[in-house]
């Protein structure tokens, strides 16, 4: 995707523009991205991209580095190594007019609490050439925002709604959400999720969360970050297709064999049943491998897994590996 003319104007480093421009087919792209805080390594060698138009979820346990990554993309933090491009702009140069195309909402963002909701939206309006007052009105109605209330007087959920309204009303090309649903009740989560899908059609959405249930219905792509390293990043359908809970039933009690393939995770045996998670599921290959290792068996079941189950299986495997 080429940077828009206003974006081009704010880019001063020609080399950076060329590098980012040439690889910027995706709204977000990182190469060997790393970040250290003193001796603590928060991110390491991150290579991933967010495709145009995707709803890309970034998942991982608390402290995995999700917020750090997003803050680097938003040029709030500086990367210690590697590079990141956001809408064709080097993340170190993401500022000013670049934000005319980015809607960013974070759970811990400090909003001007003294402002009333209406004044807050009115204040932001002139900053964005693409601000859509009709969409703003729809969002206000949809979220039932009290325009005459001060932001600091709003509940957490209402404040998030106000922040989201202010981030959607200018129809940003890229929406970046850092733990947007954290601490919200299920009703508000649902409401925000729906609004996001309805009102942000056409935008690329990059959303971080440690709660998979909240993004499962939204995301088309998912990346899993753990201890600062990217474990996987792929589209949701292939991820779900890749993981299977496998249950093999033998005619006699069995134990967990040695030297299992690397993609067989969390193998456990109980009586005549051997269970494991296959993280590279292909029925033909799996059946061939089972036949090679165990010969004929009584029964083989391959159950699809929820995103949450995939997440837990991967996280546990990483913990064990550490």
């Amino acid at each position: 995707m080429a940077p828009s003319p206003p974006l081009r104007r704010v880019l001063s480093g020609r080399d950076t523009l060329d590098t980012c421009y040439s690889i910027a087919v995706n709204p977000i792209q990182t190469e060997g991205l790393g970040k250290r805080f003193g001796r603590v390594r928060a991110l390491e060698g991150l290579n991933f991209s967010v495709p145009q138009g995707a709803v890309h979820a970034l998942v991982g346990p608390n402290g995995a580095g999700k917020t750090t990554l997003i803050k680097i993309l938003m040029n709030i933090f500086r990367a210690s190594s590697g590079s990141a491009c956001v809408l064709g702009v080097d993340s170190k140069k993401v500022s000013g007019r670049v934000f005319e195309s980015i809607g960013y909402v974070s759970e811990n963002q400090q909003l001007p609490g003294w402002m009333r909701v209406g004044a807050f939206l009115a204040y932001l309006r002139p900053f964005y050439p693409t601000w859509d007052t009709e969409l703003e009105g729809q969002l206000i109605r949809h979220f039932d925002l009290p325009l005459d209330r001060k932001l600091k007087q709003l509940s957490r959920g209402m404040r998030m709604k106000a922040a989201l309204a202010s981030a959607l009303a200018f129809r940003p090309k890229l929406i970046v959400l850092d733990e947007p649903f954290s601490g919200l009740d299920p009703l508000v989560r649902d409401e925000l999720g729906k609004a996001l899908m309805e009102r942000a059609a056409g935008s690329t959405i990059f959303v971080s969360s440690h709660d998979l249930a909240e993004i499962e219905g939204l995301a088309t792509y998912v990346a899993y970050l753990d201890s600062g390293s990217l474990r996987f990043s792929e589209d949701m359908a292939s991820l779900i297709a890749r993981f299977r809970e496998v249950e093999l039933t033998f005619d006699a009690p069995t134990a967990v064999p040695q030297d299992l393939p690397a993609n067989w995770l969390h193998a456990s045996a109980a009586d005549c049943v051997l269970r494991f998670v296959d993280s590279a599921f292909s029925q033909d290959k799996l059946e061939a491998e089972i036949a090679r290792r165990f010969g004929p068996i009584c029964k083989a079941e391959y159950k699809p897994m929820s995103l949450r189950a995939v997440f837990i299986a991967t996280a546990k495997n990483n913990q064990r590996a550490r």
Binding site: F77, S106, Q110, M115, P126, F127, Y128
Partner: protein, 534 residues
């Protein structure tokens, strides 16, 4: 431009209470100034104290307002909503500067114009100087307040930072007082001011462009370290010797000064030692000869070196003085301090002494004669004066700067102008006339909140030995001769005093010089009865 105005309007809506407070303080200041000029006081003690504190309160209210404006879009931390909005750094900075201009500078500018009008001074001809004062405010006060606000995230942090800066200034001042001669060289001060402005400006730009708080704070700490280093490493002695070179053919000594061994202070009885006193003041008698009528000499610096018993040496290092030698002067008593402990040890022992005096020579221009009419006088430089009979001085007011350098001479006391009998009961006058001088440089407008500068002109005349003087009353009809001295050059003169006994040059009270001065025939005006006090 629309972004600048948008942010400005938001700030105006948010910070109107702080703006109103600062405007209210300014309004009270403008109301109170003419009362101060007229020497009117408020009877209620608390109000009087508050009025005295007004300038400090105003500066604090401005610093507070600057901090609130800057921290409205805090530059510290990573959670502010504005950081991920399309703010353009220079527009944000411009909006803040616009707010400072509109809420602080513009009202101050208007108030200064109002004060000039109230003081009956012309406004148009002083506009340039008013703008210059505003620039000084920006460079000295507001840039500092902005820089501190830019590296702190709230009023609490800013106040703490301000306290730390205040303590650091005290510390630097303390270090300065420990470094010999450091108080004598202005150039080092110039370096400090440049460092201060460069530091504040770079911190503001660094924060607005990059929001690198840690780096900005390091810049501040580094600058303070540089200031201390500059203070410690400046070669003051070499600079002072350069400032006051030895006399040469084209820059001869302006007058012949000789140490007068014949005079000393007598101590009538044993003085009760003031145990808190840490220093003893010595006054060394010098005779003056060959002082040209058209010249004025200011002894600006003194250094005393002593050879103590046991081949020890002691130096006072350079100290500042302001002994002005003008027409008719025959003696001067440069004053130097010595530690009491050392003085007590050697006061009665003859010690070899060496004195160095740093002097500036001024050439007098043509004098303008000004006559006091009633209780008023207009001095050159558009200064208006009122005779304050209770204090024997003229209370003078001028626009933006006091006239300087200036020398005023008057034939006082005279037949028309009475002097209290008790003032002349013991001693007769020296031959030199009553004078007032301010030999400071004319360096543009004085940095002050008020554009109307107050200064007092007291005409003092020396007694016979010219070791002390008294301020004389000015009356209607008194003629003042006002000259503008022009600086020619500076030189130093060095004197080997030979062996002296320090106790002879320590004045105790009542002051008594031996040999005592002979009584001179009194002028008729000295014999008039004391004039009634106003």
């Amino acid at each position: 431009m629309s972004q600048i105005l948008n942010i400005f309007q938001k700030d105006a809506r948010h910070h109107w209470p702080e703006v109103l407070v600062s405007w209210a303080l300014l309004a009270v200041y403008v109301w109170n100034q003419p009362r101060e000029w007229a020497n009117q006081t408020v009877d209620i003690r608390l109000v009087s104290v508050l009025l005295n504190m007004l300038p400090a309160l105003m500066v604090l209210s401005w610093a507070f307002l600057v901090a609130r404006l800057v921290q409205g879009e805090s530059l510290v931390g990573d959670r502010q909503f504005w950081v991920t909005r399309p703010y353009v750094w220079y527009k944000l900075l411009a909006a803040k500067l616009l707010a400072i201009l509109a809420f602080i500078h513009f009202p101050l500018f208007i108030s200064q114009i109002v004060l000039l009008r109230l003081g009956h001074f012309p406004v148009l001809s002083n506009l340039g100087s008013l703008v210059e004062i505003q620039l000084m405010f920006v460079l000295i006060l507001l840039v500092g307040a902005m820089a501190l606000s830019a590296v702190t995230s709230g009023i609490g942090q800013s106040s703490l930072a301000l306290l730390i800066v205040f303590l650091l200034i005290l510390g630097i001042d303390g270090i300065s007082s420990l470094i010999p001669n450091s108080g004598m060289v202005d150039d080092a001060g110039g370096v400090q001011v440049l460092l201060y402005i460069a530091c504040c400006t770079s911190v503001i730009l660094l924060q607005y462009i990059r929001r690198r708080t840690l780096l900005s704070r390091l810049v501040i700490v580094g600058t303070i370290a540089l200031m201390v280093l500059a203070l410690a490493l400046t070669p003051y002695e070499r600079i002072l010797r350069h400032m006051y070179p030895l006399a040469r053919k084209d820059h001869p000594l302006p007058a012949k000064l000789t140490f007068d061994r014949a005079l000393s202070f007598a101590h009538e009885r044993r003085q009760p030692g003031r145990w808190m006193e840490e220093e003893i003041s010595l006054e060394l008698p010098f005779r003056i000869a060959d002082l040209d009528d058209k010249s004025v000499v200011e002894i600006q610096a003194i250094r005393l070196d002593l050879e103590l018993p046991g081949s020890r040496r002691w130096s006072s290092h350079w100290h500042s003085l302001s002994n002005v030698l003008a027409y008719g002067r025959t003696r001067t008593w440069p004053r130097i301090n010595i530690e009491k402990k050392l003085y007590d040890e050697i006061k009665d022992t003859p010690v070899k002494a060496h004195v160095v005096l740093g002097m500036r020579l001024f050439r007098l221009g043509a004098a303008t004669s000004v006559t006091v009419v009633g209780d008023r006088a207009s001095l050159p430089g558009n200064a208006q004066c009122v005779d304050d009979m209770s204090l024997n001085w003229l209370r003078c007011f001028s626009a933006l700067k006091r006239p300087k350098p200036v020398l005023i001479v008057a034939e006082l006391p005279n037949a028309e102008c009475q002097v209290a009998r008790e003032a002349t009961a013991e001693e007769s006058w020296a031959t030199s006339p009553a004078t007032y001088s301010d030999l400071g440089s004319d360096t543009g407008p004085d940095f002050d909140l008020s554009p109307v500068q107050f200064f007092s002109v007291g005409l003092s005349r020396f007694y016979f030995y010219e070791d002390h003087e008294i301020r004389l009353p000015v009356c209607s009809g008194t003629r003042l001769f006002v000259s503008k001295p022009e600086l020619q050059y500076a030189v130093r003169d060095e004197f080997d005093l030979g062996e002296i006994t320090l106790a002879n040059y320590h004045a105790t009270y009542p002051r008594k010089i031996v040999p005592p001065a002979e009584r001179q025939p009194r002028a008729p005006s000295e014999l008039l009865p004391p004039r009634p006090r106003a």
